[in-house]
């Protein structure tokens, strides 16, 4: 019979635990994910170990089954919370759960990008959820009809996404993980998408800074003048549409200054009320 040291026994038990834990559908006690492996292996706390791990200290075999950490805090919190059954609280909870589900829907799936490549994966992701795509060299928009849409199922290097029109899809910031590496994207319309705010523009100006020529963010009311200023990175931008959001003076000033540094840029949807107000 093989005798394992206490450490390897514990390790084996933990490995087995990890393997069959998902099958038990146990409530995940850790809401914050991502394991971290430090770049260097130095750990300054190694010089002091818990008293029981020191050499020469006796421990019984029952310690193998003792949990390393205490009971789950989530269980305690659920038990201690009085569940609020008022209609407003239930409505709020429903809204919150729906939003969390939508954001989970935007998750990055590595297999999708493995099989399809970046362009087709983005196309599938968007068209399935209600947006419209146009590829390089084609003039027709690919949309979803009911549940059907016509896109290749395997990687095909000829399909490059040229234009994206969000239509009525609700795009969240996390969805951009699926729209990376679109090197030919020239035309992007996020009109009427209410989730768009300054962080979106920050992401867009990073992802598509070398290719995007047309951007439409009309009716995206959460965008402020700071987000518009962030578009300074987009050197190829020719048309920017900001209908119905360019109401404040700061916004108009930001648009003016953006047009200053990018002479080929043309901003539509802004009416400069007072030309004497330019203070730069």
């Amino acid at each position: 019979m093989q005798f394992y040291s206490e450490k390897t026994m514990r390790y084996l038990i933990q490995c087995g635990h990890k393997q069959f834990l998902p099958y038990l559908k146990v409530l995940c006690t850790n809401r914050y994910c991502t394991e971290v492996k430090p770049e260097t292996k130095s750990n300054p706390t190694l010089w002091r170990k818990p008293w029981a791990h020191k050499e020469g200290e006796w421990f019984s075999m029952f310690r193998l089954f003792a949990p390393e950490k205490g009971g789950s805090l989530e269980v305690i919190r659920i038990l201690q919370n009085n569940i609020n059954f008022s209609p407003q609280a239930i409505q709020k909870w429903i809204k919150k759960t729906k939003r969390e589900a939508s954001i989970l829907d935007m998750k990055y799936i590595p297999e999708r990008h493995d099989i399809l490549g970046s362009n087709l994966a983005a196309a599938h992701f968007l068209v399935h959820r209600g947006a419209a795509i146009r590829f390089v060299g084609s003039t027709e928009w690919i949309k979803r009809q009911g549940d059907e849409y016509d896109l290749p199922n395997k990687y095909n290097p000829d399909y490059l996404v040229e234009a994206i029109d969000i239509l009525d899809m609700k795009l969240y910031y996390e969805g951009f993980q699926n729209m990376t590496n679109l090197s030919s994207l020239q035309w992007l319309s996020l009109q009427n998408c209410v989730e768009v705010d300054d962080w979106f523009l920050d992401k867009i100006s990073c992802e598509y800074q070398s290719s995007l020529e047309y951007l439409d963010i009309g009716n995206c009311v959460q965008v402020s003048h700071r987000g518009i200023s962030a578009l300074y990175r987009m050197s190829k931008l020719r048309t920017l549409k900001v209908h119905n959001i360019a109401n404040s003076q700061m916004f108009q000033l930001a648009c003016l200054m953006l047009e200053d540094i990018h002479p080929q840029l043309n901003i539509e949807g802004v009416t400069y009320l007072d030309s004497e107000n330019q203070s730069v």
Binding site: N30, Y32, C33, T34, V36, P38, E39, T40, S42, N43, P44, T45, W47, R48, K49, W51, K54, E68, K69, G70, L73, I76, R77, Q80, N81, Y173, D198, W199, L201, D202, K203, S205, C206, Q209, S224, H225, R226, G227, S229, A230, Y232, R233, S235, M250, L253, A254, M257, L258, D260, I261, S279, V280
Partner: protein, 529 residues
């Protein structure tokens, strides 16, 4: 009969004297021992309240509030409106000073409030958290709530960047960006406006001369590996993208493309504090002036002689009205910013023996920030630019204002007695460098300036996060040397995991623990300004 009563009287008299003697002696030996350090010994710990007096005081207060309730009900029913003199509203949550809590946090700036928020949102009904902050209000005459005068948080420039060389710093900044993006989901309170930190996503541009180019490239690769987006630019490309720049002496530039910029630190602090208060955190306006210790001869810890262990049990707080109270805690967290070394000394860190002889190397360093106006300055395409010499500048608003500053050389460190600004510093040290780097800055006008304290870690300029090796219930979260505000959500979460989970779960900050001072392994950050 007479003898028996006499006997009883004498006995009770003896009994009482005996009990009094015993009680007084017990009290003297029980909780505290005289502290040798200079700070704590000038304050006598407050005597515990006589239990009978306390009972009658509380009963009396209850009677008064009941009487007021009945009175106000009667006046409401009668329809009479008059100014009732109510019991003055106590600043404390339960009406009395919180004499004990589970977790005491010394310091209510961004770090302290962040830790309080994360602790309370994970276990809202399981633990009580008390935050001790010494300057919450500006003007004592005006009852304005929560305006910190010389706390470093609100005087900070509020930058957020991923351009560091240490993995922990990069990860903490990435989480900080994610937290700020979702701040409405994290920190909204019912009945208040959703918090808005006014993030300006402009990016950072770090410039390096020949010597620093190699390090800059390595840093950029590490940041890309961990998920930050940046681009390395040669001087030619720099000139193309940013025509206002003068690339003399520049070999390489690193331009952060995403999740970098600046925000309003005051809004973040206010959001943290409001949310923490709504979750049940108690904010005490007072200054921590000492600790009370308890001998625990049965405690065995690594590195401590058996039988000599003394735990911290209570913190002495001097309230606004000048009275001295004590708070008994289960854990204490030192997040006092630039004044952390003073607080740590009260806990004998630096003045004791063995492990306690190593002091907390955090001291305040004054840094100036100048607001200048330039008519034809760089346009919108101006990220926060950092020169190899350490001078930086960024846009402020859209009207041609810029904010700039520079870390002084070690021999030019200004005194930290007050927050007065030395405008000569701008003329001598900041403006020449800026004018060389950006020719448009030849003609600028200084509009205003302010100064604030860095919580400068003199050992290696990086934060110290984690438990102290001697004390089992003392944690430290300080020393961030100028980039604490962007790391405050991540540090708050990590300290919460340390206390409630026992270990770091998301970002591993083991390398930033206090132990590195004992084992002498400094954690040098190559990109500090």
């Amino acid at each position: 009969m007479f003898i028996s009563t006499m006997f009883k009287a004498v006995n009770t008299f003896k009994c009482r004297k005996f009990i009094k003697v015993k009680f007084v002696n017990l009290y003297k030996n029980a909780c505290f021992c005289t502290n040798k350090s200079e700070v704590s010994s000038s304050y006598e710990p407050p005597k515990p309240e006589n239990p009978f007096k306390r009972t009658f005081r509380i009963l009396g207060n209850d009677m008064k509030t009941a009487k007021n309730k009945v009175q106000s009900f009667i006046t409401k029913v009668q329809g009479v409106r008059e100014v009732t003199n109510k019991v003055p509203k106590s600043p404390y949550r339960d009406g009395v000073f919180p004499e004990h809590c589970d977790i005491a946090i010394i310091g209510g700036g961004a770090m302290g409030s962040s830790i309080a928020y994360w602790l309370k949102q994970r276990a809202p009904n399981a633990i009580t958290v008390t935050v001790i902050e010494k300057d919450p209000s500006v003007n004592q005459n005006i009852v304005s709530w929560g305006q910190y005068v010389d706390a470093s948080t609100v005087l900070s420039v509020g930058g957020l960047r991923q351009q560091f060389s240490l993995e922990e710093n990069i990860r903490m900044s990435l989480f900080g960006a994610e937290f700020l993006r979702n701040i409405k989901q994290h920190l909204s309170v019912e009945g208040h406006d959703p918090p808005d930190v006014q993030f300006t996503p402009f990016g950072y541009l770090c410039l390096a001369s020949e010597e620093g180019a190699q390090q800059l490239e390595e840093n950029a690769n590490l940041q890309k590996k961990l998920g930050a987006k940046n681009e390395l630019l040669t001087p030619v490309k720099l000139k193309q993208k940013f025509p206002w720049i003068n690339t003399d002496g520049i070999a390489l530039g690193c331009h952060g493309l995403e999740n970098e910029g600046w925000f309003d630190p005051w809004s973040l602090l206010y959001a943290f504090k409001t949310k923490a208060l709504s979750l049940g955190v108690e904010y005490v306006d007072g200054e921590a002036v000492g600790f009370e210790f308890k001998k625990m001869p049965d405690m065995l810890t690594e590195g401590v002689e058996p039988g000599s262990y003394e735990a911290v049990e209570k913190v002495l707080v001097k309230t606004e009205s000048g009275e001295l109270r004590s708070i008994k805690f289960g854990f204490v967290i030192i997040a006092a910013g630039p004044h952390s070394a003073r607080v740590a000394k009260m806990a004998r860190i630096g003045t004791g023996e063995g492990m306690l002889s190593i002091p907390l190397p955090v001291e305040p360093r004054k840094r100036y920030v100048f607001c200048i106006n330039c008519k034809n300055g760089p346009g919108l395409n101006t990220p926060l630019t950092i020169d190899p010499s350490g001078a930086y500048f960024r846009r402020e608003g859209l009207a041609g204002n810029y904010i700039c500053g520079r870390s002084p050389l070690p021999e030019e460190e200004p005194s930290v007695d007050n927050l007065d600004v030395d405008y000569d510093f701008f003329d001598k040290n900041v403006w020449p460098i800026l004018a060389k780097r950006v020719p448009a800055f030849e003609s600028v006008k200084v509009k205003s300036a302010w100064s604030g304290y860095y919580e400068y870690n003199t050992y290696d300029e990086n934060g110290i996060v984690g438990p102290h090796p001697y004390y089992t219930n003392l944690y430290i979260a300080t020393g961030f040397s100028g980039h604490g505000i962007q790391h405050s959500p991540a540090v708050g979460r990590s300290v919460m995991e340390m206390i409630l989970d026992g270990d770091f779960e998301t970002i591993d900050l083991k390398r930033m623990s206090f132990d590195r001072l004992i084992t002498d392994t400094p954690l040098i950050e190559q990109n500090i300004f």
